[in-house]
């Protein structure tokens, strides 16, 4: 058989085997997609630090609890030399760490994993605002210090959003439209309802208070919700949104991030009411941060489902665990072939040139924990540092390999410096940049040196273009590897790798012109050569 013939046969065999396994699982074993979709799970760690000055000391904050939209698990508190108390009310749970005559530095770590289901309410347009509510709702209709109801400006605004037929949905929509249209402000600190209305712009809590004031003035009970928007990285910013009581349900709204009667799957509620997230004794140098990691975990059904069926990777998970491969690392490894496939297509089918064959895929892998932006930023920073440091080295006349070694030292120090700097100035994004680049630093430095050389030999234009393609391929590889659907599929159907191999074989024996070659050789077939 010819070489081409055997290749085609191999591809056909691989694809048939894959199809047969998938069909067997779907048709006979009953694999269905809803069972397989994994969920995003966030592992959150709250870290609080403070220093006792010999007096009694206490720090209080709200702890998340499971309810109908969020489930909290794996709670773990570590607080050496402090006593811990948990206090439960109908609206929230408070954790309090304290010590008598506390002296010296203390650190509290409180970690948990959180899964949030998206919430969505369809409000009946015909529903009217009731005249009376049960007695317990008075607090959600009354004025408070920061939610003024009788101020003339708020009275006027409340009248403006009022629906003549007292329909709940129309009223909330008018309030929402008004509040959403106000400018946003990133600043922290508390803004009351009147100030938000006067300024015409506000942060999350100002907008939410204004929303609540207008709702209460129109007879709709409403309350603040405080919590976290879960996104990977380190942050100090908490978020406030609100809930309005409609037809027996507390319906969420967020005027800052445009959520009307719905919330996405990353809003973690910590408390309800107009509260401060932290209360602590004065003068203790209190500081905190939330470190959040996003992981894709099998949903509850998937674990049960796959565990009970043959031929999938979930089955093998216990063996992986015994040799210290966590599910997270496993998914990491499983997604690499797909990132690499992106590179193969970019090079052999499109004809793009990138720095380093698989560097884009590798960078994408390195960015998975901290996000794409941090990955790209880390790459560019290393590049800039390398380009700068090699100027004096070239002037001094240092040979290649020792020069590389020095560049690597510079790159490592830069990344460590960034991490320390991020900690001091508290720019959380900076910390992620440091973290992402620690992993592939050697490859990065060598690539950076090659890029600098290319800059000298080929000039800005060509180097810039290759750079652009590298980052583009990295982005596509990243998105591919981040795909939750793909991660779920590969866990359930590892035989899809046969397809990946088949596709690589096919590309590997494809002799057609690459897309960019069509452009390069266009004068040969278009007959439109310019004279």
């Amino acid at each position: 058989m010819s070489r081409k013939g055997s290749l085609r046969l191999t591809i056909a065999v691989l694809l048939s085997l894959m199809a047969a396994l998938v069909l067997y699982k779907v048709l006979v074993l009953g694999y269905t997609y809803p069972n397989l979709i994994p969920q995003a799970s966030y592992s959150v760690q709250l870290s609080m630090s403070f220093t006792g000055i010999g007096e009694d000391l206490s720090v209080r904050t709200f702890l998340p609890v499971s309810d109908e939209t969020q489930s909290i698990a794996d709670e773990l508190a570590s607080a050496p030399a402090l006593s811990f108390r948990r206090e439960q009310t109908p609206l929230y749970v408070i954790g309090e760490w304290s010590r008598y005559n506390a002296e010296g530095p203390f650190q509290v770590l409180y970690s948990y994993s959180a899964q949030v289901r998206p919430a969505r309410y369809e409000l009946d347009p015909g529903l009217r605002i009731p005249d009376h509510y049960p007695k317990g709702f008075n607090q959600y209709l009354a004025a408070s210090e920061a939610i003024q109801l009788d101020h003339p400006l708020l009275r006027e605004l409340s009248a403006r959003v009022r629906d003549p037929e007292h329909r709940a949905r129309a009223t909330l929509q008018a309030i929402y439209d008004y509040v959403s249209a106000l400018g946003g402000r990133p600043f922290k600190g508390t803004t009351d309802a009147v100030t938000a209305a006067k300024l015409g712009e506000a942060s999350c809590n100002g907008k939410s208070r204004l929303f609540i004031a207008l709702a209460r003035n129109n007879g709709i009970p409403a309350r603040l919700v405080g919590g976290l928007i879960l996104s990977p990285g380190t942050k100090r910013t908490s978020h406030q949104w609100l809930e309005a009581y409609v037809a027996g349900h507390w319906v969420p709204f967020d005027g800052l991030n445009s959520h009307f009667a719905e919330l996405p799957d990353n809003y973690l509620a910590l408390y309800r009411g107009d509260e401060a997230l932290f209360t602590h004794s004065p003068n203790i140098g209190f500081d905190y941060r939330f470190s959040i990691q996003r992981r894709i975990v099998p949903n509850d059904r998937l674990a049960g489902f796959l565990g009970g069926h043959a031929f999938n990777l979930y089955q093998a998970l216990s063996s992986f665990r015994r040799v210290n491969i966590s599910l997270n690392l496993l998914k990491f490894l499983l997604m690499i072939p797909f990132g690499v496939l992106v590179v193969v297509v970019a090079r052999n089918v499109i004809g793009l040139t990138t720095f380093g064959t698989f560097l884009p895929a590798l960078m994408a892998v390195a960015s998975r924990e901290t996000g794409l932006v941090a990955g790209v930023a880390g790459f560019l920073i290393i590049l800039a540092v390398t380009a700068l440091v090699r100027i004096p080295l070239n002037k001094l006349g240092v040979l290649h390999t020792p020069k590389l070694a020095i560049l690597m030292v510079a790159a490592i120090l830069t990344m460590l410096g960034l991490t320390v700097l991020a900690d001091i100035v508290r720019i959380d994004a900076l910390a992620s940049v440091g973290a992402v680049t620690l992993f592939p630093i050697a490859i990065l430095t060598i690539t950076a040196e090659r890029i600098s050389l290319s800059l000298e030999e080929d000039g800005w234009k060509k180097t810039g273009l290759t750079m652009f393609w590298t980052l583009l391929v990295m982005t596509v590889a990243y998105l591919m590897m981040e795909s939750v659907a793909l991660q779920a599929l590969i866990l359930a159907f590892p035989e899809l790798f046969l397809g990946v191999v088949a596709l690589n074989l096919w590309i590997g024996h494809w002799t057609g012109l690459r897309l960019l070659e069509l452009l390069r050789f266009r004068s040969l077939y278009s007959g439109q050569r310019k004279e």
């Binding site: 052999n348 004809g351 006349g397 040979l399 290649h400 390999t401 030999e457 024996h509 494809w510 002799t511 057609g512 012109l513 690459r514 070659e517 390069r520 050789f521 004068s523 040969l524 077939y525 007959g527 050569r529 310019k530 004279e531």
Partner: protein, 285 residues
């Protein structure tokens, strides 16, 4: 004009020509200019005279001293690529050298350059390397009439010792005297039958005159054409590879000289010749 199927792309070149007909074991000979020269000399293909081969730092010091006596020379990394690390030097009466672009060079700088080459800065795979110092080619008047700076060269692509396509590469102001198409040199098509020049391509445009000197380039007949073809065939026969591109120059005094042999010749020659390589390859198979 050619159909799409007649154009040789990188994928096809790699799969059907290089992987199939150029065994890896044959690459070291063409990837190392010193080994190439040895093989070519054995096959009686003329090459520029080697002045010195530098393979150690001690040797580099000695070479710098001896090179002071040469009026001009060229330094090349043996395993360089794309013309990186090539240094052309002309000695100055007051000592030291200067490059064609006018940069002055003292002994320390020449030593440094040799050191960089030995450390593989310019070389494939960044491995240690050797430096080749050879006589500087003086271009034949045929080329000087077209453009005086730099050295034009002739690329012939052969498959199974049969010439497939040929072109001439002429430096321009934009290419800074280099005969490299990617750096802005112009390519001129050459008739395999008689070495007659055809149209040129400069920056994607068809031209019949040199962009800087306005000298006509089409319709000339290249001198030594039958020798050039014979040397190309002899070189292809001497190489353990079936698909090669050879680069030749014509020295004013010595006639045709072969500079190097390429195991993965580029595909731009198709654009210069306004024809695809595929029919020629299939004609030979």
């Amino acid at each position: 004009m050619a159909g799409l199927s007649q154009i040789m792309g990188i994928n096809r070149r790699n799969l059907e020509l290089i992987y199939r007909h150029n065994p890896r074991s044959g690459f070291p000979v063409v990837d190392d200019k010193i080994l190439t020269k040895e093989a070519l000399s054995r096959a009686r293909v003329p090459v520029p005279r080697t002045l010195r081969i530098v393979d150690s730092f001690l040797g580099a010091r000695q070479a710098v001293e001896e090179l002071e006596r040469e009026s001009s020379f060229v330094v090349k990394p043996a395993r360089g690529s794309g013309g990186g690390g090539v240094l052309i030097a002309e000695s100055l009466p007051e000592g030291g050298w200067r490059t064609p672009s006018g940069r002055r060079l003292d002994r320390e700088q020449l030593l440094q350059h040799l050191g960089d080459i030995l450390f593989g800065v310019y070389s494939l795979g960044r491995a240690d390397d050797r430096a080749l110092v050879e006589q500087r080619v003086v271009p034949h008047p045929f080329f000087r009439e077209i453009y005086a700076r730099g050295i034009a060269d002739i690329r012939i692509i052969l498959f199974k010792e049969q010439p497939l396509m040929a072109m001439m590469r002429i430096p321009t102001d934009a290419s800074d005297g280099k005969a490299n198409l990617h750096q802005g040199a112009m390519g001129v098509r050459l008739s395999l039958a008689d070495g007659r020049t055809g149209q040129g391509v400069y920056r994607g445009q068809t031209v019949t005159r040199h962009p800087d000197t306005d000298a006509p380039i089409s319709g000339r007949v290249l001198p030594f054409w039958s020798e050039l073809l014979a040397h190309a065939r002899a070189a292809a026969r001497a190489m353990p590879l079936k698909y090669v591109g050879v680069d030749l120059v014509i020295d004013a005094g010595l006639g045709p000289l072969m500079l190097e042999v390429n195991a993965r010749p580029g595909l731009q020659i198709q654009v210069i010749n306004d024809a695809g390589l595929v029919p020629a390859v299939e004609g030979i198979q």
